[in-house]
């Protein structure tokens, strides 16, 4: 009689016991990668897994995507300067603090050995909490809120100036520009966005300006919504003050709107002194053409005379013709530079070894203005310097501080009605 065929044929090599043992082995094999993954430590030779968190969609999508250009340029340049390659793991924070937190957790669960990000202070704070809790180093590319590095974190590092540093340098550079040109405004009207950044900067200006003995007084402070569709009232009010110049903290769209209103309302102040983004961005220059020339921005920038700056500028020009090197590219690139440099010295992807190596960073061949990259006990690079840059013919030139410039300042700026 023919034996009934079983679904799992039992022959000389397959018994119920061996099947159970085999199943256990298969289960163990499936589970193995997860178990191996748990300690995260990998031998030098494998690329360091870096989780890059950026707002690639939502309100800050444009900036997040711009930051990502700095990521794209990193590995080819690192190869040329003898730094190890990084394996980039991307995550989109969707311009949302809670999403930033959950994406950071997921990146770590997926094997990220170091985190970089996240342009925004709120999102970076959330990621910092996760990184500290999980013991994974986090290098902040851009975020200016001071509290992030005041929490006593051991795994959080910031190579970006705090709001106080930005303001202090802005006043110092303004005085240098006024001294260089021999003309200083006696009064300004202060226009600022009323979001977290704008309000913090406004409070900072109020607190810090008296210490710098500035040549001007603030005639009026006007705050506005950064999503405003029309800024004609704001400019009308500002014009009515009769101030010599504009001091602004704005974003991109409102910077364009303000300039349009200045032209339409036939008001050419001595100049625009910007202490935030907007006025130097490519879209501003592209949209306004000749009318975009002139504003001075006091921002975290790059030293055009440094060797690595020239390399980064050339690489960007090659990959993205027509796009000027800017803060987003520079500081995202440098965050990865910190990671690659630390990995090289630590010779390990062990999080603690990496964090110790980052703490001992001393990069002098870098891009940003200042003596280089190093971190104080709080994880803050407190040696960074800001620059004064000016829009000139669709390009950006650096006019301060001395020693890190590539052009002389044009101040006062050419009146709008003389350009058309």
């Amino acid at each position: 009689m023919k034996r009934k065929q079983s679904m799992f044929p039992v022959n000389g090599t397959m018994t119920r016991r061996s099947f159970t043992a085999g199943a256990a082995a298969v289960t163990a094999a499936i589970a193995a990668p997860a178990i191996v993954r748990a300690p995260i430590v990998r031998a030098q030779g494998a690329a360091l897994k870096v989780g890059v968190l950026l707002p690639r969609s939502g309100a800050q999508a444009g900036i997040g995507q711009d930051c990502f250009r700095g990521v794209e340029l990193a590995n080819p340049i690192f190869k040329g300067i003898g730094l190890p390659e990084l394996e980039i793991m991307n995550a989109d924070t969707e311009t949302n603090v809670e999403v930033a937190r959950s994406r950071a957790e997921k990146l770590i669960a997926d094997g990220a050995q170091l985190l970089v990000g996240a342009f925004d202070s709120g999102q970076s704070s959330a990621i910092a909490q996760v990184a500290e809790q999980k013991g994974i180093p986090f290098v902040i590319n851009i975020a200016a809120a001071p509290p992030i590095t005041e929490q006593g974190y051991k795994f959080v590092f910031r190579n970006f100036p705090t709001a106080g540093m930005i303001l202090g340098d802005a006043f110092v550079n303004q005085k240098e520009v006024f001294a260089e040109s021999g003309v200083a405004p006696k009064s300004v009207v202060f226009l600022h966005v009323n979001d977290t950044f704008g309000t913090a900067m406004k409070n900072g200006v109020g607190a810090m300006m008296p210490r710098f003995n500035m040549p001007y007084e603030i005639k009026e402070t006007i705050s506005y919504d950064p999503t405003a569709r029309d800024l004609s009232v704001e400019v009308s009010k500002a014009k009515a003050t009769g101030a010599d110049a504009l001091l602004v903290v704005s974003r991109l769209n409102d910077a364009i709107l303000l300039t349009r209103e200045l032209v339409k309302q036939r008001w050419s102040p001595m100049g625009v002194l910007s202490m935030g983004p907007g006025w130097y961005e490519d879209q501003y220059l592209k949209t306004l053409d000749k009318l975009g020339d002139g504003p001075l921005s006091f921002v975290p920038w790059y030293d055009p005379n440094k060797k690595l700056s020239k390399q980064l500028e050339a690489a960007l020009g090659q990959k993205y013709p027509g796009i000027n090197l800017n803060t987003n590219h520079i500081y995202t690139f440098e965050a990865l530079l910190v990671a690659a440099d630390a990995y090289k010295r630590a010779k390990s992807a062990d999080p603690k070894a990496l964090a110790d190596a980052i703490r001992a960073t001393n990069i002098t061949e870098n891009v940003s203005t200042g003596p280089g990259i190093s971190f104080n006990a709080k994880g803050q690079n407190d040696k960074l310097k800001n620059s004064a840059i000016q829009n000139r013919g669709g390009k950006l030139v650096t006019v301060a501080p001395k020693g890190s410039t590539n052009a002389k300042v044009q101040w006062p700026m050419v009146a709008y009605d003389k350009r058309r």
Partner: protein, 290 residues
Amino acid sequence: MPAEIYLNVAISGLLTGLVYGLMALGLSVIFGVVRVVNFAHGEMMTVAMYVAVVLFAQLGLDPLLMMLPIAALLFAVGYAMQMALINPFIARPEHSQFMLMVAVAIILVNGLLIVFGPDAQTVQTSYAFDSFAVGPVIVDATKLYAGLAAILVAAALFAFFQFAPLGKAIRACADNYTGALVVGLDVKRLYALSFGLGAACVGAAGAIIVLIVDVTPPLGPAYTLLAFIIVITGGLGSMPGALLGGILIGLTEAMAGLFFTPSAKSMFAFAILVLVLLFRPQGIMGKRLT
């Protein structure tokens, strides 16, 4: 503060309000006839703005000249949407209609993001930076053209509903749905025409507004909200109310920015809305519901 500043700001607010009014007019027409609340209103306007941007960038066509073709395109889109998508929902509960329109809005925003990316796009006409000086008063040329165009489109729409047989049929349909059916009007087609006309208004408003505002995909929800504030203030379903509401909100925002602080402009627009809802729930020119 010099006196001319008040006049400058008032004129600017009035002109902006006229364009707001035109945008809200579309919402009012759609609700007044079809009784569907178009939650994709601002998003549809954003689509029109992008059409204007593309026509300007690729063919150098001025958005003001392209206002009618863009309105016609949006009419076709609105007509098709009503026939294919909204008519099956007419008899369904209101929350189903709301969700349908919210879904359309989300699809439009994300579709625009995929096609155009997140960066703001602009139309830089030869008169983009022009202004007229009348004594000490300075009037923004773009806003003046936009305001005049809004008046023209609104007048044409009023005339259509007042004098054209088709306009009268649509009004009859809005006044008495059952009566319209009884006298043999093709109500579904009239609904589609109404939605198309509302969409055409939005198209015209988009072509005009792109002269004043740079367009980004997430702009839509802000304008949907603004349109709601305007039509609720003016009276949901009332066409003159929509235009009046637009002017009122435009002027209020401008004057609040001047007298108080510009960052509180929206707050005052909402305050007007709350006052209207408290003391005249049907809106300034709306009919009291029985």
